[in-house]
Symmetry: D2
Subunit: 334 residues, 4 copies
């Protein structure tokens, strides 16, 4: 259940306040140059520091524990491990039975009968996205020359990002945001009909990113209000280029030669400094809770690099399937 | 690639104008009463007839070819076959090299090097959703007493559905729509962290339905404009009931004891009677095309029962996984 | 559970005395010529007629219900259906509660709480191997120019096949046999380390053939009695050719450039005309039973074409994985 | 490709002379007591020391890096890591282009274009079986009260194990062996028809253990020489108990209520101190090589605990599937 992919396959593991978090990657071709330094740029983008993001220092040093020799991938599974350090989880002990609203505290306690690691969200923590970002760094190399880029386009319903963040911070509140993601340079015809459509696989992975609550491709929800005569993208050449791109670069679940475009809705950060009502799971009684410590005012600001990563992971897998079965008729023997 | 599910698993097959369409279902428990008549209600809902839906008569008689004996499931795979009949595909021959805008004609031709069944969309046709609906009928029984219900809430950006359809029809145009879906009565804690979150699996299947271009859970895109203090759903009892349901019944990818709620954006029907520009794939030259025959003015009207079906398929699978691993601690021996 | 394969994927369905048996095949490349006539040769080899095989006429006409247009594969799933006909299942009704020794009657009744299709073994019947043979015909084309050939090398512990069969027939008894299978012309390096080793995947599929109880690669069990200095195959050229072939063409789970060789043990036919003891499942009391009708004296005689089929299915899948990930470094963009 | 299992799922990683080896385990129920100490007994059985096994000291300390809190499983994936230490791989550098006969050196070099980790077999090394043994320790707990036990029954074709080992050692040679494995206490009806038969899944995993070249269930190859009237196991009570156990406890791919029995053939250790011919992969010329260092005279002696482990892994997965779908009719809601 913690794995995804058919040929290029990632398996996630770890906890927020346990020993480690990380990812295991299977199906990576050989000879790909890979050093720990190459992960740092994207990991930095995911990290704390920018306004509205948490100040907590994290152990963001990726340790390549398997699958690489002499700086190149070997074809064997690649294990990337991030150690957790300097963790004070005492604050979580007192919250063990008072679930934070908007978090997985209540659902995971119920699902696992209280045996779940409750400290800082445990296995459900955003901490685990370090592994996704690391796998994304590899996937981005594999899909070259195609490129994936995501950015925040709206925060708290507003394009005035700075102002909105400051306002929320002052009110001890949090805000959500909307991201836009674009993949350019993909081959035509990527994806499979029905269950492995490009939209199916990308949305599958995008919703595995904590705090994501919506996705739309191309014109998306706004497109449902359009007339067909305006919505249909007119094909203008044999490369599949269209005049408009309301379909977000996908027809029939397959890439159509235009940029792949989608937007992602991210909910407001669940942890806020304001006092909130919740229940005590030992007796069902109402109690209040205010989440201590420094938290992201807007978790959406850290999400673009994660969305890029999961998108690249899906595209790498689709490219491998495509290469195997459909490119040049499929039959073999090189 | 044409299969989905871990324990309750569906495999789709068929073409619009080939011999048949249908579905193969694995992992259905024994002793479930099942007759061909039981499929008819949902198949009827998917069918033509209502204003704005095509008048074409379809062969919507499900034939149970395997997996059922004496009106009960046997534990073996269930094959449900729909024969195609009375099909005139001559109209498609002349369009073989002039892809209809908004359809999979161009992408599938390119992907499969022209070997794809091009008649009426072939394997990419909405015709294949008969199989999804049939599997959904079984899945709905398996998830009882939980219930899934979907409905159209908006057409062409308007809640005045009748008027919008008539207007589009008059203009030889088409419109999209928005659906709302609700699942009630689900156990708490369904779903898996990360890749098999409820959102991940539902969106995966929902985007396998032709014409779907967006999905949002709970407050979704609008929620990204909210403050955390308003967005967070306050838990009020040990059953997980919350005062609001902005999360759409899911926290951390797991059902939280409230109704599961999501909305789906459906693009306008691609086939319209108006003349449209496209290219001739033999030479890349611009040409025009108008799609003959009767077509749905608004395909969204036929989609609710399909969304219910794919949702029930996902929930049945999640229930089986849940029962196996997490219910009562997981260990075995009955 | 009734599916196998990662890219080239088969799903089996049907019953012995139900409406049909057959197979659904996903991941078949486009443009492969395929007619119903092409299946007949291998289906004939599986069929009744030879001495020691049952005289029962079967409906061995393959109906291609999806995935082929104008005699060529389209890239969509291929459904091959065999109708069951002329079936008298009344004989099975009286045996419903008296399980035939050596058959799945007892275990399937217990597993499925009596809801299983009990007629002639139901879903557990050798009848379903028609689907495997049909998929094998396609797989054999996909792995060309590689070839797979299997033959019976021993019957009832003896190489005097005719004599042994006549003797068993006279005594109303049955015999088992040993098969040898060889695949030639495979590329070097096929297979994956550990769980998808060539031996792992071939044995997985070979044991899905009813009545198979053993498999050994190369020198196999006899090899375990050898010294390493004699067992090790000396590599003599860059194509990997070895002086001996004790490893059966596989090192480290990967094809090594020599013929792939393995042997399969097939148990004696379970159905015999002699009277046998069993229990009545309604009360646990001992009773006797003699299996009426004509049965194979030696089921092993019908198995070679099925072993070829499942081997070709595995090899096709491994070739697709190999082509995708490892051939020429793995990266993409054609 | 380096993963196995549907609900209880293991993913293997690591290299012989890289940084680490280990296993990632998904689908383990919550609340299972688990400490690093509990792994030591089985790891010790796998280790060096006994006559005929290598003297090399290994770093066999399992580090639980994720999935366990306060000594109990949390439901999240369990990562078990073994660090490699004190490794002198200089000896392998000079052998890089002269593949050791019987090893994966030649095939893995060819498959991965020379990018594979060649040191001590790299990812293909028996070293990685530490991970399998560790996962087996967990699986054995999950299948309780069922038990799996394997032992060596023959070495070098002889039951005089000590004498055979001494003789081989004196001659700088190696020997193979045969193991017997028995699982007792399993529920009736475990396994799935066709592709997920008990034999299919067990053989799949057993052949992933390096050096295994054959498997037979119950009477196996010898059974193919028997008459049906002697081979068929007579059922004597409602628990499925049979007078004989020629079927090895499996009918129709399902457990039949008797002990599960199978035998495994292990080839002679590939590394021997004698000089052997091979080729230089740079030019194809013949050269000689003698494998330095201490090696197992008989690798089969270390294999029983690994066979137990992979068997328990398969059984745990089958138990979870069984519990979910077939136990008590399959439908849900606890």
């Amino acid at each position: 259940m913690n794995s995804f992919g058919r040929l290029f396959r990632v398996s996630i593991f770890g906890e927020s306040h346990g020993r480690s978090a990380g990812i295991l990657i299977d199906g990576c071709p050989v000879g790909l140059p890979l050093s720990e330094a190459e992960f740092l740029h994207d990991l930095e983008r995911r990290k704390s520091g920018a306004k509205g993001t948490t100040k907590r220092r994290e152990s963001d040093i990726p340790l390549i524990k398997a699958g690489v020799m002499d700086g190149k991938t070997t074809g064997a599974p690649i294990l990337i491990l991030f150690k957790n350090s300097d963790i004070d989880s005492s604050a979580y002990e007192q919250m063990r039975h008072t679930p934070r609203p908007g978090h997985a505290d209540f659902t995971s306690f119920q699902k696992y009968g209280g045996f779940n690691d409750y400290r800082g969200g445990g296995h459900f923590s955003g901490r685990l996205t370090v592994g996704l970002v690391a796998a994304g760094v590899i996937a981005k190399k594999l899909i070259e020359p195609a490129k994936v880029e995501a950015e925040v386009v709206e925060v708290g319903g507003s394009r005035e990002i700075e102002k909105t963040l400051e306002d929320a911070l002052r009110k001890k509140d949090s805000v959500g945001g909307i991201l836009s993601c674009r993949a350019a340079g993909l081959p035509l015809g990527l994806g499979e009909p029905f269950f492995d459509s490009v939209e199916s696989l990308i949305s599958h992975m995008v919703f595995s990113v904590p705090a994501v609550k919506g996705i739309e491709f191309g014109a998306g929800f706004a497109g449902s209000a359009m007339r067909g005569s305006h919505y249909n993208d007119e094909i203008i050449n044999l490369q599949g280029q269209t005049k408009t791109n309301n379909a977000g670069g996908i027809n029939g679940g397959l890439t159509n030669g235009n940029d792949l475009l989608f937007r992602v809705a991210v909910r407001p950060t669940a942890s806020i400094a304001q006092s909130q009502s919740t229940i005590d799971m030992r007796n069902g009684e109402t109690t209040t809770l205010s989440v201590k410590g420094r938290h992201d005012v807007c978790i959406a600001l850290r999400v673009p690099v994660i969305i890029e990563a999961v998108t690249a992971i899906v595209l790498a897998d689709l490219l491998f399937i495509h290469k195997s079965l459909w490119a040049k008729g499929g039959v073999i023997h090189e």
